[in-house]
């Protein structure tokens, strides 16, 4: 296989912004590879370290340790940036320039010939759907979504090999999101590799080939989308109504139980479990509204990975005997295990 476009090995980043504050460990050993031609989804809750990872790739900040390459060059190489398009999480461009002036400036920094540039600028502005009458106005008069569109235009202006987009859906209206999704798929069909960091799981699910889930500075899962969705267990959803007394008898063993529009909605991981619940409902004279198996969505997988690590952390401080599964998770994280130790001694 050809060399990966992005190759990240064991990157860590510790922010020491303030002498008085504790250093902030934003990344704790991130490994990633992104191959030519794919759409790579980069997921993670707020503060997981997505933007930090991207800034390290681009050479805006330096990793505390670890190494890697971008487009075959070390991070921060000027050479690599010729083939790179980037949309930052907050598109702050020179406010005193108009959209056309900005793109002209960037285009010339990329050595695009001045004669083609005007045509190309209109082409990309059309493509991201920036209104015609806005193009000659200074960017400080733009709305959030308009800036976002200009940012996307700037990222694809010079026909890069790789585009890195940090939260590209921010500020876009529903139609804009829809158009943007199509744009990403088009880019892929043109052979452009897309690295897409986003919270909008539906968008990632409908575009990405592979995804990585980042949580608390670590990649907790990296695989192709189809693999993630296929290997994760299915779940069984049961909508029902029973007497409050009966409810307690089978709540145990369910992966979730929450009030529905009418009655309750239970989720079970195993078919046996689901069948047992259904039987109990009927035997206790309850009403069964619906019973259907469903495949996990990316959102479910995401919630599972992220929630799992949060839940197992909290009880570790309080209880001496953590359940085996939780212990296993803790052993992987030095900090967490230290905390559980101090919990035992105090």
């Amino acid at each position: 296989m050809a060399a990966p476009l992005i190759d990240v090995r064991g990157i860590t980043k510790v922010f020491r912004s303030d002498l008085l504050k504790r250093p902030k460990e934003a990344l704790r050993g991130v490994d990633l590879t992104v191959h030519e031609g794919e759409i790579f989804g980069f997921l993670g809750p707020n503060g997981a370290g997505k933007t930090t990872t991207i800034k390290i790739l681009l050479g805006l900040i330096r990793p505390t340790s670890g190494s890697g390459t971008l487009l075959g060059q070390p991070f921060g190489s000027v050479e690599a940036r010729r083939d790179l398009g980037f949309l930052p999480d907050s598109p702050n461009f020179y406010r005193y320039l108009t959209a056309r002036e900005l793109l002209r400036f960037f285009g010339r920094l990329h050595d695009l010939a001045a004669t083609d540039l005007s045509r190309r600028i209109d082409e990309v502005l059309d493509r991201v759907g920036l209104a015609d009458d806005a193009r000659e106005r200074q960017l400080r008069t733009y709305s959030r979504g308009m800036l976002q569109r200009v940012g996307i235009a700037a990222a694809i202006l010079h026909r890069p090999r790789l585009v890195i987009l940090d939260e590209p859906m921010n500020g876009l209206d529903p139609l804009g999101r829809h158009e943007f999704r199509d744009l990403i798929l088009q880019l892929k069909s043109e052979g452009i590799t897309v690295f897409l960091s986003s919270h909008v799981l539906a968008d990632i699910e409908s575009t990405a080939d592979r995804v990585a889930i980042l949580n608390e500075g670590k990649v907790v899962r990296i695989a192709s989308l189809s693999e993630i969705l296929a290997t994760e267990e299915r779940s069984y959803e049961i909508a029902f109504e029973v007497e409050a007394m009966a409810l307690a008898s089978f709540a145990q063993g369910l992966s979730s139980l929450k009030p529905g529009a009418r009655g309750w909605i239970a989720n079970a991981r195993e078919m046996d479990e689901a069948n047992r619940v259904v039987r109990t409902i009927l035997e206790s004279g309850g009403k069964l509204f619906a019973y259907h198996p469903r495949r996990l969505s990316l959102e479910d997988v995401f919630v599972q990975h992220v929630a799992a690590s949060r839940e197992t952390k909290a009880p570790a401080v309080a209880t001496k005997t953590a359940p085996p599964a939780a212990v296993e998770v803790h052993e992987r994280s030095a900090q967490a295990s230290k905390r559980s130790e101090s919990g035992v001694h105090s």
Binding site: P91, N92, H110
Partner: protein, 255 residues
Amino acid sequence: MIHTWLLAQNTFRESLRDRLLSTLMFFGGIFVCASVVVAPLTLGQQDRIIRDLGLSSVAIFTILMIVMVGTGMVYREIERKTIHTILTQPVGRPSFILGKFLGLYGTVLVAIATLSAFWLGVVGLFGGGLHLYLFEAIAMVAMEAAIVTAVAIFFSSIASPLLSAVFTFLVWISGHLAHDLKMLTARAENPILDFVVEGLYLVLPSLHHFHVRNNILSGANLSQDQMLWGFAYCCLYCIAVLILTVLAFARRDFE
């Protein structure tokens, strides 16, 4: 190189669109012309006072402009995060700094040209006519301004605008005093004091090279040596400061 030029152009455009600049130019123009009103109060010295006051106004407003417009130049880019969009273009950090310097200096030259036009006009009419030494003096102001511009860019890339403004201003003032201070302490014959002052003298720009007041007062042309020395010193000092800035900038994180 072409990239540096593009960045300089953009910086130039930015500072020209800055309201502060036109405001300063306006008041600068008024000050230069005001020398005509003040001068008659000094009997017999009118020509010299018009020349001297006018040139001082040109120099001071140029420095004010650098301090007020220039000291936020790099800091603002970091604060507003526009630096993220520029340093991810195929532009090296040294080009960025050099572009900032050239762009700001371009603006400074425009300001000097504007103020000097007023000055030359006033001197031509009321201050004894146009002579070569007037133009030489303007060249010296421009060289001094280059040094102060480089210093402003340096501070701007490591400190907040307010601090850089204060520091730049202090460097400018002490740059003018450094030479006198050295002359004074040389007489005291105190080795420790000598050592300290010698060190300061090396680090601070020796702005006395660009001191042309005597020529302006007496109406004498500058020596070729003084011009050449000034030019060489200006180039060397700017290069040294810019290299220092580039080094300070190279390892920085832009969060």
